[in-house]
């Protein structure tokens, strides 16, 4: 088995790891239990951060906007102070550190790759202040615990999470015949229903109609955040019967009797176990780990494992890994910038992320440049993980990641920024050679391409070496 398997399903081997005797076993054994977070610094809860979100939004909207209505300079200044006080500019940086620390040091890196996959399948795109306060904890507290349960359970948790409901506006969706809908002459907002069908479960392959979307939106009415004057939209999720559309509903030819709160679980059950959903999600998994256009032969064993285990994600993940293993030598997969960065950090033991002591935050000054570094790099290489532009998340297709500037940004990172992230004890040429040997069969050819720079150890020399190495086809792809 080629060494690239460690990058295909994980992040490559760190200098402290050696190739494992049975790579397939090594990989599938990582999927039964949820690894703890390793980050020694603060890991705030979703609830704490939602409270901060509320303080920020309330402070800005209800206090500052009124106070400084005539003075944009004073308003901006006060807003900046509020940002510092509520950690508005900090928490996303901390989340990135938690995430990258995990992928760098985890003993179950294969599990972590699936974690990234599901976070992106149930993507929260850039909206309001979700990236700042919510997407990180959502991925930690909603996505992750469900990875040892069934797909259906995952969909249930995601669909009723505060983050997804806010993201897709379900709080603004009123059954037109509900008490509040009639009183306020409000109607449904279809966003969440549409994405539940299109992106999260059955996909357009199921041939649903606009009427199906509307009917599903009716079922979903009432699942909303509890609004109050002080918390604004950051209240907990509950089921508001007074927003819920009364009457029976029909989605994909199945009738759901008027049953209030219980309708949602029933329809999610049917969607999450729908054969087209199973095929759609299995295909996406294969696309992520095997190749952009996976074949039926690649996908079918995953579907079988899904059916046999009634959607157990542990079994599904194992089947995906087996397929990735089986096709490792004959397929290619391009890695998007964030995974590339995580792999470089693990393989070359880079100083990414910053140590937890240095990530501590006082809420008195704005985060410093060092604290912002990782998030800045992610943005500059075009893959700020919580800021996908649309609810379909980041693309898994090579064609979406290959543009002149996006490739140039990788050269920029590897040749300009990366040298500053090399640990002082790792600056020798031999260190690079040993890392290459640890991870690539073809390491001799790779080494020959940087041979001419071998005597140099300055940042500039390191920049040339890494600039070349990190952009080779072997590293951009498996």
């Amino acid at each position: 088995m080629s060494l690239n398997f460690y990058r295909r399903v994980a992040f490559g081997l760190s200098p402290h790891e050696k190739p494992y005797k049975d790579p397939l076993n090594w990989a599938t054994n990582q999927l039964d239990a949820i690894p703890d977070f390793l980050w020694p610094g603060t890991i705030p809860t979703e609830k704490e951060l939602r409270k901060k979100y509320g303080e920020w939004v309330y402070g800005d909207r209800e206090v500052l906007r009124k106070k400084f209505k005539n003075d944009k300079y004073a308003y901006r200044k006060a807003k900046d102070e509020l940002r510092i006080k509520t950690g508005e500019r900090y928490f996303e940086l901390n989340e990135h550190a938690i995430r990258h620390f995990q992928t760098k040091y985890s003993k179950q890196p294969v599990f972590e790759r699936f974690w990234l996959f599901w976070g992106n399948h149930f993507a929260i795109s850039e909206k309001d202040f979700l990236a700042e306060f919510s997407t990180g904890p959502y991925q930690r507290e909603i996505i992750r615990p469900n990875m040892v349960k069934t797909f259906e359970e995952m969909v249930q948790s995601v669909t009723t999470s505060w983050c997804m409901i806010h993201h897709l506006d379900n709080s603004e969706s009123f059954g037109p015949n509900s008490k509040k809908g009639m009183e306020w002459r409000e109607t449904i907002n279809e966003n969440h229903a549409r994405e539940l069908l299109e992106l999260h479960t059955v996909s357009p392959n199921a041939g649903y109609t606009q009427e199906d979307v509307i009917q599903l939106a009716y079922i979903m009415t009432g699942w909303a955040h509890k609004w109050d004057r002080k918390n604004l939209e950051t209240g907990d999720i509950w089921f508001d019967q007074e927003m819920h559309q009364k009457g029976d509903k029909i989605v994909l030819r199945i009738k759901y009797k008027n049953d209030g709160k219980r309708e949602l679980a029933k329809v999610i059950h049917d969607l999450a176990t729908h054969p087209i959903c199973i095929k759609f999600v299995s295909t996406k998994l294969c696309r992520h780990f095997i190749t952009d256009e996976p074949t039926e032969e690649m996908i079918n064993p995953v579907i079988e494992a899904w059916n046999k285990s009634n959607g157990s994600l542990i079994e599904i993940h194992k089947a995906v890994i087996q397929q990735a293993y089986k096709y490792n030598e004959i397929t290619h997969k391009f890695h998007p910038p964030e995974i590339w960065l995580m792999q470089l950090s693990r393989m070359f033991d880079l100083n990414v992320p910053l140590s937890f002591e240095k990530m501590n935050y006082s809420f008195k000054l704005k985060p410093n440049n060092r604290q912002r570094q990782l998030s800045w790099i992610l943005r500059e290489i075009g893959h700020s993980p919580y800021r996908a532009k649309q609810p379909n998340g980041w693309s898994d297709l090579e064609v979406d990641w290959v543009s002149p500037e996006l490739l140039l940004r990788r050269f920029w990172f590897a040749s300009v920024e990366l040298p500053m992230l090399v640990k002082s004890e790792n600056r020798s040429h031999d260190f690079i050679l040993s890392c290459l040997k640890n991870n690539f069969e073809d390491h001799k050819n790779m080494a020959s391409l940087i041979h001419q720079f071998r005597f140099g150890t300055s940042d500039k020399d390191l920049g040339r070496k890494y600039g070349v190495i990190c952009n080779l086809p072997e590293i951009l792809k498996v």
């Binding site: 400084f68 500059e380 075009g382 391409l449 952009n471």
Partner: protein
């Protein structure tokens, strides 16, 4: 002869000039025409950019936002003082405005609205390509899109081989690419390899550029590329910050700051496109306008109808093109927003038809699913 000598010289080829007489149509078709779209994210307030003059109701509802010193356009409309270049070009028939217009979207969500302004569709997230990308593809213009942004904007998606320009914070030694270029072997590396080709063939100015925080530099480089007869035909700029819920202000408020950015880009494009400006159309794009009434924070909320700011030599004349719906309560959309009486996609479809030399009806079918979008080329552009 329709074609004036001045115009003819702009064509640039002396041999052709010497060979004498050319009907206007063949002359026009050999000119490269540029279409530049500037996305104004956040909801641009058409009534701040192109205020209606002397409307008592507006004065009453926007006490703190009313502009003094507006630039004069005509008896009905003025221009925000920060949009100087448009005023200057207006004198030369090279600036115009479409007012009370918007994409057919009334939901007031940035999120959905920005998706729809780029896809040109009716249902958010349903389409995965942009109207500009589809227009280029339908016109068989491949590899001529230039995005001034790092990700390829949705607006341009749908046509392959677009270029983008958004240089990294530091200089990149592109000769490193030469060292690894030959390592990209086999069919599965073709896409990267051809993209590396695009990078290697870049003019020096694009190669040595750094610092995408400086919008001036980006616009300057875009102008340089657009001016090149074999360069891009389409460019997309992205601006945000138009979502002024507070301290929107008048002449110096938060909205004015954003309009100043638009003004800067257009000024740089105008100065540096030189004569190519005569064969250029610049149009703005936004997701919605803003409420008539100011809010408690002297800002405005998300609305509906807005305006399109236009500049370039391909405009027919200076005008505010509008079917003005009025600002009385019953004339407003849902009693609060300037209505939209022109589907802005009709303007974009007509602009594409001019710049891509295509039949507007054909484009309408290929790009906008045959939606009812009247051809406005006659009214707005030089044909």
């Amino acid at each position: 002869m329709n074609c004036t000598r001045r115009n003819f010289l702009i064509g640039g080829s002396t041999t052709l000039f010497l060979s004498g007489y050319f009907p206007k149509i063949s002359f026009a078709s050999m000119q490269k025409k540029n279409l530049i779209i500037i996305s104004l994210r956040g909801g641009m307030d058409g009534l701040t950019a192109v205020p209606v003059i002397g409307d008592k109701r507006l004065k009453k509802l926007r006490k703190k936002l009313i502009l003094e010193d507006v630039l004069n356009l005509n008896s009905d409309f003025g221009l925000h003082p920060k949009l100087e270049i448009f005023h200057k070009l207006w004198q030369k028939n090279q600036a115009a405005f479409v007012h009370a217009t918007n994409i057919p979207y009334t939901g007031r969500s940035h999120f959905d609205g920005q998706n729809l302004m780029e896809t040109g569709a009716h249902i958010p997230y349903k389409e995965k390509t942009g109207w500009l990308g589809r227009g280029l593809l339908a016109s068989n213009i491949i590899g001529k899109g230039l995005a001034i942004s790092l990700p390829m904007p949705l607006l341009l998606r749908g046509v392959p081989q677009n270029n983008n320009f958004f240089p990294s914070p530091d200089f990149v030694e592109t000769k490193l690419i030469d060292q690894i270029y030959n390592e990209f072997k086999g069919e599965h590396n073709e896409l990267i390899k051809s993209t590396l080709d695009t990078i290697r063939q870049r003019p020096l100015s694009m190669q040595i550029a750094t610092d995408s925080d400086d919008r001036k530099k980006l616009a300057l480089e875009a102008a340089k590329q657009l001016k090149d007869q074999s360069g891009p035909r389409v460019a997309v700029f992205d601006l945000d910050g138009f979502d002024t819920h507070a301290a929107q202000g008048g002449v110096d408020g938060a909205h004015a700051d954003e309009l100043e950015e638009v003004n800067k880009i257009v000024t740089i494009l105008h100065e540096n496109l030189g004569q190519a400006f005569d064969n250029t159309l610049i149009l703005t794009l936004t997701e919605f306008g803003r409420t008539i009434k100011q809010n408690g924070g002297y800002g405005t909320e998300h609305g509906y109808g807005s305006a399109i700011l236009m500049a370039g030599g391909l405009l027919k004349k200076s005008q505010v093109y509008t079917d003005w719906p009025g600002l009385k309560k019953k004339e407003l959309f849902e009693g609060r927003d300037l209505n939209s009486t022109i589907d802005s996609r009709a303007v974009y479809n007509s602009a594409m038809s001019i710049c891509f030399n295509q039949d507007p009806d054909f484009l309408r079918k290929e790009v906008f699913w045959g939606d009812h979008l009247p051809d406005l080329s006659q009214e707005l552009f030089k044909i």
